[in-house]
């Protein structure tokens, strides 16, 4: 499943250029009966994680526990709290984890997203710039 373009070297010209934070939201495409992502290859993930760390671009990153463990909280207009089990995978895309990376520009962020094992098969990675209110 490894495509040629995911092997492309990532541009890492970090010298002097101010970088920008991007969040990579990793959507598991197909979800198994337990609500976990079905197409994960442990080795690929470990290799990717190592690469991200060694490149010196990692701000943070977590993978999320299975969807069956999720709980939704809402607060109504009177301050009343509703807690429900879920949400369940009615939608096709289930957030399975994320990385926040610090890179020079969108193209670099897209390169890292393309290398992520979560982008393959029925999965996808949404790349979103982190808002910078200081600028």
């Amino acid at each position: 499943m490894m495509m040629d373009d995911t092997r492309r070297p990532v541009r890492q010209d970090l010298t002097g250029v101010r970088t920008m934070k991007y969040m990579l939201l990793i959507n598991a495409g197909t979800v198994d009966a337990e609500g976990g992502a079905a197409e994960c290859d442990e080795q690929d993930w470990m290799a990717y994680d190592k690469e991200v760390r060694e490149a010196g671009i990692l701000v943070s990153g977590e993978s999320l526990a299975d969807l069956v463990t999720a709980t939704v909280v809402k607060v109504g207009p009177e301050g009343e709290r509703t807690v429900v089990d879920g949400p369940f995978a009615e939608s096709r895309e289930v957030l399975g984890g994320f990385y926040v990376i610090d890179v020079p520009d969108l193209d670099a962020a897209l390169d890292w997203a393309a290398r992520c094992p979560g982008a393959r098969g029925s999965g996808s990675v949404v790349v979103r710039p982190v808002a910078d209110f200081g600028a």
Binding site: T15, V17, R18, P104, D105, P129
Partner: protein, 419 residues
């Protein structure tokens, strides 16, 4: 810039349109910000409108505009510290490690437009905004001109462009030329945008006119620039060849009253021989030195049409073969439709119709009026009038431009008449 008269104004306008892309690209490279670049570029033009009528047009008008625009940018950054801080953070000038601009010995400004092509066509931008951005940034059209070109209200187009520029800035879509390793992935996107600008001009999707020559002219102008910047990319040559070979027939495609004239009925002496010659030379280059790309193959098909004295003696077997190649390279229902029409010319209407009917399930063709019009033509040739009329009727329900609709109404009438 309105209807201001006078030689100097016209000179400014001409220079600005010619140099706009160059000027903007230089400014973007220096300051890393499209908004600032556009702002000071237009301020420089305003300054030119004041100074040139008095002092005369400078010897190097492009360089004059660039110097003036740069000065204005520096002034602006002095006044606006927040803006300056944001740009300084990008460290645009000192940290650019991009390759040196390709210098054209005759040009007064270094040509840094290639990066703008890639930014405007960036896949992270919404598709309808990409062509609009290219027309604005690289072809030098104003927003109202771009809106007119796409037949959308000015406010809609202004918003589309503003949002695209916002995304470029906020998501930090870079101004950079992709490396050799990325080109195979990124260049087709740029060509696709240029092709869609051309197509909208050649086969307008709606409106009173069949085609909008101004839009095809802008598309050709942009592809010529791209071809100068990337002379060894064969698909760029292929796309330029395709555009020239199709544009060569443009004048003959519209009658005296703006009506549609089909290929079969066109006065071929009105085809532009110079464009055909240039396009044919380019298509030869595009087909040489490796497996051909989809634009080169389409250009080869266009060349076969352009070289034929009439419809009957056109090399239909060769055209069908080329459509086979194209179907393998870039399969699509529209390619299959065109192939079926060519097969009808080679083997007869029956064979073509069988292929068309085989495509009836294609979602993309259901609402595509040329598909139903082509079925109508073949059914009529087979003497199946009522079925032909039904097919023309369906095409008429979808056809975009007024001349196409008028043509289909004529065909519908003819199909209804007993043979």
């Amino acid at each position: 810039m309105g209807a201001r008269a006078g030689g100097a104004e016209r000179a400014v306008e001409a220079v600005f349109r010619e140099e706009h892309g160059l000027l903007l690209a230089s400014l973007v490279r220096r300051f890393g910000d499209l908004d600032l670049a556009e702002e000071v570029a237009s301020e420089a033009v305003e300054a030119a409108l004041v100074h040139w009528p008095v002092q005369g047009v400078p010897a190097r008008p492009g360089a004059w505009l660039l110097t003036t625009a740069r000065r204005k940018a520096v002034d602006r950054l002095r006044r606006d510290q927040v803006y300056a801080a944001r740009l300084a953070a990008l460290q645009v000038e000192t940290d650019r490690s991009a390759p040196a601009p390709r210098a054209d010995p005759g040009a007064e400004l270094p040509d840094e437009r290639l990066q703008l092509f890639f930014t405007c066509a960036h896949p992270a931008l919404p598709a309808p905004a990409r062509g609009a951005l290219m027309l604005r940034c690289l072809a030098g059209l104003t927003t109202p001109e771009v809106a007119r070109a796409y037949l959308v209200p000015q406010a809609t187009m202004a918003q589309r462009i503003v949002r695209a520029k916002q995304k470029i800035r906020q998501a930090r879509i870079p101004f950079r030329v992709p490396g050799e390793d990325e080109l195979p992935e990124r260049l087709p996107g740029v060509l696709q945008v240029l092709y869609s600008v051309f197509t909208e001009g050649y086969a307008a999707s709606s409106g009173p006119e069949l085609q909008r020559p101004d839009l095809t002219a802008e598309a050709v102008r942009l592809v010529r620039i791209l071809y100068r910047l990337l002379p060894t990319e064969r698909e760029v040559a292929g796309l330029l060849a395709l555009m020239l070979l199709v544009r060569a027939r443009q004048d003959a495609r519209t009658g005296a009253d703006g009506e549609l004239v089909l290929l079969a009925d066109q006065d071929r002496s009105r085809w532009d021989r110079a464009l055909i010659e240039e396009g044919t030379a380019l298509v030869t280059a595009a087909l040489t030195g490796g497996p051909p790309g989809p634009y080169a193959v389409q250009a080869a098909i266009a060349a076969l049409h352009d070289e034929a004295p009439d419809l009957e003696t056109t090399d239909w077997p060769q055209i069908v073969t080329l459509y086979d190649v194209l179907s393998a390279l870039a399969p699509s229902p529209v390619v299959a439709l065109n192939r079926a029409v060519a097969v009808a010319m080679r083997d007869g209407a029956e064979a073509g119709l069988a292929l068309l009917d085989g495509l009836a399930g294609e979602e993309r063709l259901r609402g595509h009026h040329p598909y139903h019009a082509a079925r109508g033509d073949l059914l009529r040739r087979l003497g199946r009038g009522p079925e032909a009329a039904a097919a023309y009727r369906r095409a008429l329900d979808m056809a975009g431009t007024e001349p196409e609709r008028a043509h289909l109404r004529r065909m519908l009438e003819a199909a209804r008449r007993p043979a």
